[in-house]
C-alpha cells in the first residue's frame, strides 16, 4: 500500500511550493508538484503604459526583482523593434551576471548545501586536519585552521544554547548524510563565507542599478546611468574600479570555493548522478547580447529533446521565431478556467479553485509546454545545450568539472551523467564559473567602449497606435524567463509572464505528462520515508522559487511546515 507524504512549508501568506509523493517499498512511486497561491499579478498591468510595466513586474517576487524588470523592458523593446546602445547592453549584462552569481551562491550554500552537510557532525571535526584537506583541494586563502576553528565555534555556540536556531529544521543524523566531520566543517565554513561574497555580487547590482533590491536604472530603449569618467556621482572611473574589485573577489570565491565544493560533494555522493533525472527535454534562450541588435550572444540557447544531445537545435536570437511560436500554457490540472492550451499572447488567467485533487486540478501553476512537451529549464538546460553545440566556454568548465570530480576520487562523469540531481548542482557551478569569466569580459567591453568616447545609453522610441506584440526573454538563474506583451492604443492589452519555475514546477498536462519536478522524483529511494531528505535533495537541485511572493509574517509560527504522512 502506497503512503502519501506531503511537504508543505506554510509559514506565511505566500505562494509557495508543495510537494506530494507516494512511497512504495521505500521508493517514490508517484509525485505531484503544486503552487499554493494564485499568481494573478499580470492582470494589474492591463491598461497601463508599457514603459512603466517593469516597475510593477520587478515587484512580482522579492528574490528575482531584477530579472523581471529586465524581461519586461525587453518585451516592449521587442514589440517596438528597438535597438539598444552598446553601453546599455553591457551595463544590463553586468547587472544580470552579478545578480545570477549572487543567486547561484545563495542557492548552493544557504538553500541546498545543508541537504548534504550534517551540521551536528561539525563539533567532532579537527580544524587542523580540515585545513590540510582544504589545501589539497583548492588554493583558496581562507581555509586556515583559525578560520575553520571560528566556524566550528559558531556551530558549538548555537548547539550549546539548547536551541538550534537557524539549524532547527534539518535532517541531522539522517542515514543519507555521509560526509566526514572535516568535510562537513569545511563546507560549513564556506556557508558562512558565502554570505559575504554573495553580498559583494549584490553590491555590483546596487552600484549599476542605483539601488537594490529594486534597481532604478532601466528604461525602455536602454538604461538611465549617466556616464561621466570624471564625476564621482556618475558612472565613471571610480565606480568602474569599485565594480572591478568586487567582481575579482566574487570570481575567486566562485572558482576556488563554490566550484570546488560542488565537485567534492559530487565525488562523495556519486549515486546521485543516477537519481533525479526526469524530463530530458531542455530549453534555454540566448542571453548576454554582444551588439545593439541582439544578433550575437555570450550564452547560447536552443532546445534538446529526450536527452539527445546530438540533435540539439540552436536559437539564433533571444526572441527566436521558433521560440515565439512554440510556447503554450495548459491548464488541465491547474486551478484556472478553460480547457485549451493557449499561447501566452492569448493567455487567460481566470481562476477556478477546486481544492487539491491529484487526479484533477491541484496547482496554481499552469503547465507551460514547448511544441506540446514539458521542458526542463535552468543551468543544466543551458549547459547541455551549450555543450551539445560545442560552445567553447561551456565545454571548458564542464570538462574542468569532470576532471575535478575524478581527481577528488569520484567517478569520471560524462555529460550524460548530468541528467541527474547532482548534474543540476554541477551545471549551476559550471554556469557560475562561465558567468564569473564573462563578468570580467563585459566590464572590459564597457570600459573599452566608454574610452572610445561613446557615452550613449538610451535610444528614444515612440509607441505605435496599432496593435503590436513582443516577447522579452532572459536566461535567469532558474532558467528561461519570458514576458509576453500585447500593446494596443499605447497601453498594455495583455501581459503574461512564463517564469522558470512554472516550466519546472508545472503540473501534469492534458496528455498526463509530468512536469520536471514530478518526473525527477519518480523512483527516488528513501532511507526513512518519514524524513524525506532525498526528495528535498532533488527538489532543491532545481532551485525552486514560486515567483508570487506575498509575505505576511506569522509571529505565532502556528503553521510551521512539516513532512506530513497521510
Amino acid at each position: 500500500m502506497a503512503k502519501r507524504i506531503t511537504i508543505d512549508p506554510i509559514t506565511r501568506i505566500e505562494g509557495h511550493l508543495r510537494i506530494d509523493v507516494e512511497v512504495e517499498n521505500n521508493a517514490v512511486s508517484n509525485a505531484w508538484a503544486s503552487c499554493t497561491m494564485w499568481r494573478g499579478i499580470e492582470k494589474i498591468l492591463r491598461g497601463r503604459d508599457p514603459r512603466d510595466a517593469w516597475l510593477f513586474t520587478q515587484r512580482f517576487c522579492g528574490v528575482c526583482t531584477t530579472v523581471h524588470a529586465m524581461a519586461s523592458v525587453r518585451s516592449v523593446e521587442d514589440a517596438l523593434k528597438l535597438e539598444i546602445p552598446l553601453n546599455a547592453q553591457y551595463i544590463r549584462n553586468l547587472i544580470l551576471i552579478a545578480h545570477a552569481l549572487h543567486d547561484h551562491i545563495v542557492h548552493f550554500y544557504q538553500l541546498s548545501a545543508l541537504d548534504w552537510v550534517d551540521v551536528l557532525q561539525i563539533p567532532k571535526a579537527d580544524p587542523a586536519a580540515t585545513s590540510k584537506l582544504a589545501e589539497s583541494l583548492s588554493p583558496w586563502t581562507r581555509n586556515s585552521r583559525n578560520e575553520l576553528k571560528a566556524a566550528q565555534d559558531r556551530v558549538n555556540a548555537v548547539a550549546s544554547s539548547g536551541q538550534l536556531g537557524i539549524f532547527a529544521n534539518g535532517y541531522w543524523g539522517h542515514p543519507a548524510m555521509r560526509l566526514s566531520p572535516e568535510v562537513n566543517l569545511l563546507a560549513f565554513s564556506h556557508y558562512v563565507q558565502a554570505l559575504e561574497y554573495q553580498r559583494k555580487a549584490l553590491q555590483v547590482v546596487g552600484i549599476l542599478g542605483s539601488k537594490t533590491p529594486h534597481i532604478q536604472n532601466l528604461n525602455v530603449g536602454g538604461v538611465a546611468n549617466a556616464i561621466d569618467l570624471d564625476s564621482p556621482s556618475a558612472l565613471g572611473m571610480s565606480q568602474l574600479e569599485m565594480i572591478r574589485t568586487l567582481l575579482e573577489e566574487v570570481v575567486q570565491f566562485v572558482q576556488h570555493v563554490y566550484f570546488v565544493d560542488v565537485c567534492a560533494v559530487a565525488a562523495m555522493y556519486p549515486e546521485w548522478f543516477k537519481i533525479g533525472s526526469g524530463v530530458r527535454n531542455y530549453l534555454a534562450v540566448p542571453d548576454l547580447p554582444l551588439d545593439s541588435r541582439g544578433s550575437a550572444y555570450d550564452l547560447p540557447g536552443g532546445y534538446i529533446r529526450d536527452g539527445n544531445l546530438a540533435g540539439v537545435k540552436g536559437f539564433q536570437t533571444a526572441s527566436d521565431p521558433i521560440f515565439r511560436q512554440s510556447v503554450s500554457e495548459d491548464v488541465m490540472h491547474a486551478y484556472y478556467q478553460g480547457d485549451k492550451a493557449l499561447h501566452p499572447w492569448a493567455g487567460e488567467t481566470e481562476p477556478a479553485f477546486t481544492g487539491w485533487d491529484g487526479e484533477q486540478k491541484y496547482s496554481w501553476v499552469k503547465a507551460p509546454r514547448f511544441n506540446g512537451e514539458p521542458m526542463q529549464v535552468g543551468p543544466l538546460a543551458q549547459v547541455l545545450i551549450g555543450y551539445a553545440q560545442g560552445h567553447p566556454l561551456t565545454r571548458k568548465y564542464t570538462d574542468m568539472a569532470i576532471e575535478k570530480i575524478a581527481a577528488i576520487g569520484g567517478p569520471r562523469a560524462t555529460p550524460a551523467a548530468l541528467h541527474s540531481t547532482l548534474g543540476r548542482h554541477a551545471a549551476r557551478a559550471i554556469r557560475a564559473c562561465m558567468l564569473a569569466e564573462l563578468a570580467q569580459k563585459h566590464l572590459e567591453l564597457l570600459v573599452e567602449n566608454i574610452s572610445k568616447g561613446d557615452y550613449t545609453v538610451h535610444n528614444h522610441s515612440v509607441l505605435p497606435t496599432h496593435e503590436v506584440e513582443g516577447v522579452g526573454t532572459h536566461e535567469a538563474p532558474r532558467g528561461t524567463l519570458s514576458h509576453w506583451i500585447v500593446i494596443k492604443d499605447q497601453k498594455i492589452k495583455n501581459y503574461q509572464a512564463v517564469v522558470p519555475s512554472t516550466w519546472n514546477a508545472s503540473p501534469r498536462d492534458r496528455a498526463g505528462a509530468h512536469g520536471p519536478y514530478e518526473a525527477s522524483l519518480l523512483h527516488t529511494p528513501l532511507a526513512r520515508p518519514e524524513e524525506p531528505l532525498e526528495v528535498l535533495r532533488t527538489v532543491h537541485s532545481f532551485d525552486p522559487c514560486m515567483a508570487c511572493a506575498c509575505h505576511a509574517f506569522d509571529p505565532s509560527g502556528r503553521k510551521i511546515g512539516v513532512a506530513k504522512i497521510l
Binding site: 511537504i7 509559514t11 492582470k43 491598461g47 510593477f56 544557504q110 533590491p213 509560527g557
Partner: protein
C-alpha cells in the same frame, strides 16, 4: 556612529501586504531623521534581509502580519518574539524570511541590539487592490509607534515644514495620471 534602519516589508502589488512599503515611504516624505537613520522600502526580501540588518544598533520593520486580531490592529513584536518562530522547511528562496535572517545574524554574532516589528493585521491580499480601509486607518498609529521607538533609542526625528510627495507610485488607477493616496 550607531545605525538604525526603518524598513518596510511587503508586496506592493498585493493589497494590504503593501502596507510596510506604504508606511515607510509616507514616513520619509513627512520627517527628517538624525544621521545614521536609514529608511528603506525593502519589498519582499528573502535571505538578502540578513545583509540589511547585520551590524545595526536598531532595526524597526513594518510589515503586514497574520494574527487573530481585527484588520488594522497594530501589534508590536520584539526580537525574542521573532526568534521564537521556527525556521521553515527550506523549499524555496522565500523560505529564509524574517526569523531566519534574524537567526543568521545571531549566528554571525551581529544581530541588531534593538528590534521592533510594527505589525499591521491585514485583511485583503488581492492583486491590484489598494489598502483596505481598516489598514489605511492604522497607518498613522504605525508611524507613531516608529517615532516613539526612535525617541526611546535617542534618535532625533523632525517633522518637515513642507513634506515631499511620497513615492507611493503603485497606488492609483492605470487610467489616471495622478495617483491618490487614499
Amino acid at each position: 556612529m550607531k545605525r538604525a534602519l526603518i524598513g518596510g516589508i511587503g508586496n506592493v502589488l498585493l493589497g494590504d501586504d503593501g502596507v510596510g512599503p506604504y508606511v515607510v515611504r509616507l514616513l520619509e516624505s513627512l520627517y527628517t531623521f538624525a544621521e545614521g537613520v536609514e529608511v528603506a522600502d525593502l519589498g519582499t526580501p528573502a535571505l538578502d534581509l540578513t545583509h540589511q540588518i547585520v551590524g545595526l544598533h536598531a532595526l524597526i520593520l513594518v510589515d503586514s502580519v497574520a494574527s487573530d486580531g481585527c484588520p488594522g490592529t497594530v501589534v508590536l513584536y520584539r526580537k525574542e518574539d521573532i526568534l521564537r518562530v521556527m525556521p521553515a522547511e527550506r523549499l524555496d528562496p522565500h523560505s529564509p524570511a524574517l526569523s531566519e535572517c534574524m537567526m543568521t545574524a545571531e549566528m554571525l554574532g551581529a544581530s541588531p541590539e534593538h528590534v521592533l516589528l510594527v505589525g499591521i493585521v491585514g485583511s485583503c491580499y488581492e492583486p491590484g487592490q489598494p489598502l483596505s480601509e481598516a489598514v489605511r486607518q492604522s497607518v498613522g498609529r504605525a508611524i507613531d509607534a516608529i517615532l516613539a521607538e526612535l525617541a526611546r533609542l535617542g534618535f532625533d526625528s523632525q517633522k518637515k515644514l513642507s513634506p515631499n510627495a511620497p513615492g507611493i507610485w503603485w497606488v492609483g488607477d492605470p487610467a489616471s495620471d495622478s495617483p491618490s493616496l487614499i
